[in-house]
């Protein structure tokens, strides 16, 4: 009996021990669960910001692929996700509104036009790890300000360009025309006249895009982006209606003449073409564009022809030109800090920049031994899944690859070109049209009706220009002009002389 007792006791104790252990572990498990849930609740879900990328003519086929890569890049670098939404530039506002309806808030957008929708960036500047001065000078930042507020950061893209035209090199050579001799509208007129006689089947010229007029890149009137009135680039800095200027008149008159002479493609509004696309067919002699270092090479690739560029005006830095590659954060963004970080990446990360500019290495381009890039075997501008040519819309294009054939010193040349460009006095000024919003919109509607026709030579300027101006008068142009003048003078006074 004694033996039996000895045997039982250890077992009983063991059982009690086990019970205790079980209780303890259960207790521990519960604690851990609670902690983890608390932690998981407290821990943030990964942030996702929405970025709208604007393309000029069409959304490339491989956009989704690029977006996925960019998202992966951002996740790796910054531990937040980025959802990219593509839009056409002309369609951007509509797209944003549509997404808003779906409940998607865009955090970062390219080409911010309406600063009412933009976030003031001054408080977020400290997020930039690098000193901003390494990227942009004080002066540049000041110029980027709009009425003192900083909505975008200065860009280093090749936004400075001069209104010009590209010609087919072979035709020029055939007729022994020296592009140096072409500098004015008159020169162009003579040229077209001569050529059209010898080449009756050749279309003389076309705009950069048929859905815009010939004067798309005509930057004389770009001082005020959101108003038909502008600050004349003279010493007096008077406020003028850009449609009333002599330059404008001389241009549209000539354009009308040319259209009548049959120098243009037929029924321009129905064409839906880029000048380079028409050039590719061999039917076109020239088209208008914005000239800058490297433009010839760019247009050569787009059009498949060898072209010669002729600037028709000197390069200038204007408010709108500076805005071309301006990226900003939307006011109603939920994640301003992450958005700022994304902007920083767009400015400083060559991987991200090249991804959006050129696509994925070895899929859309290949790296050549000399550091430039080119299409992979069998690919060209037409059949590539990603050849958007939106380098101009990215703030720091200088970090991107240079395409093969292009000048390797392109960025240096660009910098010189930009530095030598004349700077408007009105840089940094933004017109707030809230007071005269109704009139301003009315003016724009009137302009929309007539401007395209005038700038494509479809409307007789002698008839329709006065008609347009008349309507504008009636719509309250004077008020808008007065308001602009007021604002500009006020702004001018705040500026250092």
């Amino acid at each position: 009996m004694k033996l039996l007792y000895n045997r039982i006791t250890p077992i009983r104790i063991q059982k009690q021990k086990q019970k205790r252990i079980r209780k303890n572990t259960a207790f521990l498990a519960v604690i851990l669960c609670l902690l983890s849930t608390c932690h998981s609740i407290a821990a943030e879900e990964p942030v996702t910001i929405n970025v709208m990328i604007a393309y000029d003519f069409f959304i490339p086929d491989d956009f989704e692929l690029i977006a996925a890569h960019a998202d992966a890049l951002m996740w790796e670098k910054r531990q937040f996700h980025v959802q990219f939404y593509p839009a056409l530039i002309i369609d951007r506002k509509r797209q944003m509104e549509q997404l808003e309806k779906q409940g998607i808030t865009i955090d970062v957008s390219t080409t911010t036009e309406d600063e009412h929708l933009c976030l003031d960036l001054d408080p977020l500047l400290p997020i930039w790890e690098q000193d901003i001065c390494e990227i942009a000078t004080e002066e540049e930042i000041e110029h980027t300000r709009r009425n003192g507020k900083l909505y975008t950061l200065p860009s280093k893209a090749d936004y400075v360009a001069s209104f010009g035209i590209v010609f087919r090199k072979d035709i020029l050579e055939k007729y022994a025309i020296d592009p140096e001799n072409i500098q004015t509208i008159q020169d162009l007129d003579t040229l077209f006249e001569k050529l059209s006689q010898n080449e009756p089947d050749l279309i003389m010229t076309a705009p950069l895009w048929t859905h815009s007029g010939f004067l798309l890149r005509y930057h004389q009137f770009d001082a005020v982006k959101n108003c038909i009135f502008t600050i004349a680039p003279t010493a007096e800095e008077e406020i003028v209606n850009k449609y009333t200027t002599d330059e404008y008149l001389s241009w549209i008159t000539m354009l009308y003449k040319w259209n009548q002479a049959g120098y243009f493609p037929e029924e321009l509004p129905l064409q839906n073409l880029k000048g380079s696309e028409l050039m590719r067919t061999g039917k076109l002699f020239s088209y208008f564009c914005a000239c800058k270092p490297g433009i010839e090479w760019e247009e050569n690739v787009s059009s498949g022809c060898e072209l010669v560029s002729v600037p028709l005006m000197e390069p200038r830095v204007t408010n709108s030109s500076a805005e071309i590659s301006s990226w900003g954060i939307m006011k109603n963004s939920n994640h301003p800090e992450e958005s700022m970080q994304f902007l920083y990446e767009i400015y400083t990360n060559p991987e991200l920049i090249n991804l959006f500019l050129y696509g994925i290495e070895n899929t859309h381009y290949v790296l050549l031994p000399n550091g430039t890039i080119d299409f992979p075997e069998g690919m060209n501008a037409e059949n590539s899944g990603y050849y958007p040519n939106i380098g101009w819309s990215f703030p720091n294009q200088t970090l991107s690859y240079i395409w093969n054939g292009n000048d390797p010193d392109l960025w240096k040349k660009n910098e010189i070109y930009q530095n030598e460009a004349r700077r408007d006095a009105s840089l940094g000024f933004r017109f707030d049209d809230s007071v005269v919003a109704w009139q301003n919109n009315a003016l724009y509607e009137i302009a929309d009706t007539y401007a395209y026709g005038l700038e494509t030579g479809m409307l007789d300027p002698t008839v329709y220009l006065p008609q347009m101006l008349n309507e504008m008068e009636k719509a309250g142009a004077a008020e808008v002009q007065a308001e602009l003048k007021d604002q500009y003078e006020t702004w001018r006074n705040t500026q250092k002389p």
Binding site: F58, Q271, N272, E277, V463
Partner: protein, 548 residues
């Protein structure tokens, strides 16, 4: 064929007979399975294109109904022709917006064309190649111009045409005087499929029932062509797959199969070698050992360390058996020797009792006649004679035998008072040669008995001769008697038969003959003949070696 009878070859044969069919069946089974899988894969691939084809069909049907129902904006068209510049501009913009929206909706459309009042216009899809669109538009324009008035191509539905290797579909609708429609670049329809990245796909294209679209197919080595018809069998979605790429897994499988079979064969040979080691070799060992015993080698077999239990038992029993045989053999030999010894002794002791009795009688006679000298002499010689007879050894020296013969002759002389003489012609060097006891005396005795002449003359000679490369000691006993009878001589080739039939006269010779056989193992010879000059001649040839 003797090779075929060995156990090893039998084993190999039967093993092959069992394993080859099994491996063969397995291989066949796997190959059949692979074949059927290939067929199934092909079949499933046939079905591969069905969803895509139906998708394209839906697209085509949508566009068809669009063209069927969409009204032509004649108001814009007429305004473009007759209106103020501004009206024209606005009409153009409106027309563009009108059809651009449609193109946006039906993104597969490459372009929409309108022929109104002999003016051909087209609105293009901005995402596509302009040059190709111009080409297609030109073709369509030519086609429209070729139509008669009131002809409505819409009834024929989609029309296929090909330009420079690009396949197109065209759909034309008549609305009063206006002909309008759209065209589709069919390769665009396939972009969704191409993005799927189907394995082994080398080319993908659409075919139409009238074979207007012709393509150059790059020759793949083994093309698998899948054709899926759609749109009321007017079109076919054709995919050309590279069979080898598609079924590359089978190639790999075949390789695996080959290796498996090779491995199986290897295993088979391994099995055989193991079998040999475990069974065949021990068998061979046993066979060898038996053969050795047969040839008289009774050495034991050393058992290796790691022999199997059963084999160990067999080997141990075999060794015991070998030992037993060895012992028995020795036993038998020894017994045989003992028998021979006894026989020999018995033969040797074939003493003629009557000679003793006669001798004793003679002694008694002499004693009765009080001839004490003769009695003494006779007793002395007789005792010498008997002593020699009871001499236990089988072999004596020639000298001793001759001495005994002399003694015997003296006794005979004393007994019978006959006249005889003898000559012994034996060189002295042969005196020490060993000869069987009583071998010569027997014949001397015979001569005395059967010579039958008044003056018997006995000659005993001994010499060494060489016969057939062997040295023999030749001992001859001759007399000048009547010799042997012809009858006796004719029977002598079989002395035991012949001589036994003669009582007394044959026994002595038989005895000597037997003892010679036993002692010299048949190498000694006994010749019985008559001399030329008359008289018997007994010749004994004993093998002579230096140490006898």
């Amino acid at each position: 064929m003797t090779v075929f009878h060995s156990i090893y070859s039998k084993l190999v044969f039967w093993a092959l007979l069992f394993t080859v069919p099994i491996i063969g069946l397995l291989t066949a089974g796997i190959l059949i399975a692979m074949n059927s899988f290939e067929q199934q894969l092909t079949l499933s691939h046939q079905q591969l294109l069905l969803p895509y084809a139906s998708e394209i069909e839906v697209t085509l049907e949508n566009i068809h109904s669009y063209v069927a129902n969409r009204t032509v904006p004649t108001q814009f068209l007429s305004k473009i022709e007759s209106g103020s510049e501004l009206e024209q501009l606005q009409a153009m913009q409106d027309l563009n917006a009108y059809y651009s929206e449609d193109i946006y909706t039906y993104s597969q459309i490459d372009g929409i064309f309108v022929l109104h009042n002999e003016k051909f216009r087209f609105i293009r899809n901005r995402d596509r190649d302009y040059s190709k669109q111009c080409q297609a538009a030109q073709y369509i324009q030519d086609f429209l111009c070729s139509l008669t008035a009131e002809e409505n191509p819409f009834r024929q539905g989609y029309q296929a045409f090909m330009l420079d290797g690009d396949p197109y579909l065209m759909l034309t609708q008549r609305s009063g005087n206006t002909l309008w429609g759209c065209w589709i670049h069919t390769q665009q329809l396939l972009s969704a499929i191409r993005n799927q990245e189907i394995d082994g796909l080398t080319s993908l294209f659409l075919e139409d029932e009238n074979n207007i679209w012709k393509y150059e197919t790059s020759g793949t080595s083994s093309p698998l062509i899948i054709r899926q018809s759609f749109y009321k069998n007017a079109f076919f979605l054709t995919a050309v797959l590279d069979r080898s790429e598609l079924f590359s897994v089978f190639h790999q499988l075949r390789l695996v199969l080959f290796f498996l079979i090779a491995f199986a064969i290897l295993l088979f040979f391994l099995y055989l070698s193991v079998l040999v080691t475990l069974l065949i070799r021990p068998l061979q060992v046993l066979v060898t050992q038996m053969n050795r015993i047969k040839s008289g080698d009774f050495s034991e077999y050393t058992i290796a360390e790691n022999t199997a239990l059963e084999l160990r038992e067999v080997y141990t029993a075999m060794n015991a058996m070998t030992r037993e045989i060895d012992h028995l053999k020795i036993g038998i030999y020894e017994q045989k020797l003992l028998e021979q010894e006894a026989k020999l002794q018995l033969l040797q002791l074939q003493v003629k009792p009557h000679f003793i009795l006669n001798g004793l009688n003679t002694i008694m006679g002499f004693a009765q006649s009080h001839d004490f000298e003769m009695t003494q002499k006779m007793t002395f010689f007789l005792s010498r004679h008997f002593r020699y007879l009871l001499y236990q050894e089988h072999m004596v020296s020639l000298a001793e035998e001759l001495e005994h013969i002399k003694n015997y002759l003296e006794i005979h002389h004393m007994k019978h008072q006959t006249v005889f003489s003898y000559i012994i012609n034996v060189p002295e060097e042969l005196y020490e040669t060993e000869i069987p006891i009583l071998s010569l005396q027997t014949f001397v005795e015979n001569s005395l008995k059967y010579a039958r002449t008044s003056e018997i003359k006995i000659t005993i000679t001994g010499q060494l001769i060489k016969k057939q490369e062997t040295d023999f000691l030749m001992l001859q006993v001759t007399d000048n008697g009547v010799g042997f009878s012809e009858e006796l001589l004719s029977q002598l080739p079989h002395p035991e038969k012949g001589l036994l039939s003669r009582k007394n006269a044959g026994i002595g010779m038989y005895n000597v003959n037997q003892r010679l056989t036993i002692l010299y193992h048949g190498r000694a010879r006994l010749h019985v003949a008559n001399q030329k000059q008359g008289g018997a001649q007994i010749t004994i040839l004993l093998p002579f070696s230096e140490n006898t």
